[in-house]
């Protein structure tokens, strides 16, 4: 089933050339050269072992989720018509944000899988505010994260409830704010804000004749494969940055600086951004800080901010949002989580 139209449409559409500036390409090339030189020149150093093990572990764990996310995105692309999406989640309705922040209950995956899905949902016409609410709330408000938090805190359901409620509330609040501050066209890249021409299944597989199921599935998987190549590299670079931080920065230095509650919250938030842990595992690391007398608000800040904002996520957001949008989104998220946790304390 060789279909050049389909093939070139998928691999040319929005993948790389329009969104990749020259500076970004040089940065990516620099990353490859740096990584290769580390393998060649520092292979026997203990720091290299730590870095390599952490880097490989993050990628190995996140990649299946991301493959799944891109596959779901591919199926949304081919099987869900734009008209249906805009009927379910119409533009300009505030209540869509509340739905967006809670989709994670039915779609329990971590943050790496959500980014490619959000990209496709935006293409299909989901309002910006609802998509952002899903992006931020999905990795927290889901049953797997609730279960892992309960295990880490010995079945203390009050902590689980607080995590879910703060996660949901903050996702809704920031979704609404972002919807007020940005239009979709201003917030996301051009290829994300509108459905690409020529990727619609009926349009590709015959003149007006609807595509058969097998062909549609093939097309969906092909879309997923192309999307993964596009976003996957940002996961790799983000995981590498996280591994560098974990290798070089001692956690004790952070704990030593936690003098006041506000400082504890801030430092735990900084740690969450730097460590890049999966939302299904971060509760265990947060719980380990109890022995260092970090207040619950600090532990909660760690568990809420991490799934919303970390190095690898910021890099992955670059494939969806324009730089000013990411800057505002990151600032708003950071400030809202900080103020919420301060109130909680």
């Amino acid at each position: 089933m060789n279909n050049p139209v389909c093939d070139s449409a998928i691999f040319e559409h929005g993948h790389d050339h329009r969104s990749g500036s020259r500076g970004s390409r040089y940065a990516q090339l620099l990353f490859v050269l740096l990584a290769l030189s580390l393998i060649v020149f520092f292979r026997d150093a203990p720091q290299f072992n730590t870095l390599g093990i952490i880097f490989v572990s993050i990628v190995l764990e996140a990649m299946p989720f991301m493959l799944l996310g891109t596959l779901i995105g591919g199926f949304i692309e081919v099987f869900v018509p734009r008209e249906k999406v805009t009927r379910w989640l119409p533009e300009g309705r505030w209540w869509t944000v509340f739905i967006g922040a809670g989709i994670g209950v039915m779609f329990p995956v971590c943050e790496c899988a959500i980014v490619p899905v959000v990209r496709k949902l935006l293409q299909k016409g989901v309002p910006l505010s609802a998509a952002i609410a899903f992006l931020l709330g999905g990795p927290i408000v889901n049953p797997l994260v609730a279960a892992s938090t309960a295990v880490a805190y010995f079945g203390d359901w009050s902590i689980v409830m607080q995590r879910m409620m703060f996660g949901y509330g903050i996702a809704v609040g920031i979704g609404l704010l972002m919807g007020l501050l940005f239009t979709k066209a201003k917030a996301v890249h051009n290829e994300v804000s509108s459905e690409p021409i020529g990727t619609d299944a009926p349009a590709i597989f015959g003149s007006g004749k609807p595509a058969v199921w097998g062909e549609k599935i093939g097309l969906a998987v092909n879309h997923a494969a192309a999307d993964f190549l596009d976003i996957g590299r940002f996961l790799v670079i983000g995981a590498f940055c996280a591994a560098v931080v974990q290798t070089l920065v001692p956690r004790q230095a952070f704990v030593a600086a936690m003098g006041t509650p506000a400082f504890s919250i801030l430092i735990m938030m900084l740690l969450a951004v730097l460590l890049n842990l999966c939302s299904e595992a971060d509760a265990f690391v947060a719980a380990s800080f109890r022995s260092s007398l970090v207040p619950l608000s600090g532990q909660m800040a760690f568990m809420i901010l991490g799934p919303m904002l970390d190095i690898k996520l910021i890099l992955m957001y670059l494939k969806v949002f324009k730089a000013p949008t990411i800057a505002v989104l990151a600032t708003l998220t950071f400030v809202t989580v900080f103020l919420s946790m301060l109130t909680m304390y």
């Binding site: 691999f11 093990i53 998987v221 993964f228 704990v255 999966c278 265990f284 690391v285």
Partner: protein, 244 residues
Amino acid sequence: MKVKIQTAIVLTTACLPAIIYLTWLAAYYWLLEAGRYKAFLQPKLWPLLILALILLLSFIAALISQFSRKSGRVLKFEQWLQAAILFVPVLFLWAIYGQSLGTHALSKRALDTDQPFSISEIGPQRSSPATDGKTLSLLEIIKNAEQFNGKRVATEGMVYRGGHSDRNRFRLFRFVIVCCAADALPLVIFVKSKIAEKFDNDVWVRVEGIFKLETVKGRQISSIAADSVRLIPAPPPEKRYLFF
């Protein structure tokens, strides 16, 4: 000749996506085979690896079925760069397999190396653990610290001497993983022995002695007064970590 080279480049560029997925498919298969993935991931995550294999296979099948040389004609540099980035973790996997987190990682992760981080608070205590001469893991000992207090235990782990350890003491440690090595937490027990100074950082030892739980400045410190400490070979990479 020039045309042939050009054709080869175009063909390779067009095949790059499939080559990337094939490489990752081989990597995941290799990790799954013989449980090598346990050197990086929690054993319970094996379904995740199976999922990755299935998805990678379906991506390869879709790419092959839709294969066209046309895709090789555009964005050569971009596609090669993309491929290079996605190959980097595989190269690291090849370079570091066989290694594990050691004293360097411990020094960065332990929240307090003088009063080592203890996870005695994590997880409910189990009832009446058996100590009848069998080797216990550090996790079992620390989780059941109160039951083992004053009893004879045998355990294995790595040595950390630290910057200012006294001659008759070292720290015995292992890492415990929740999901992957990025979230690994160190478990540490002090070992008191007359021959403690014989052992260097990162070597694996088997320790036998009396387990003690002491409270120092409000914190519980675990230690073993060892009557036997001996070097053992490092376990295979997939058996070096403990798992929740």
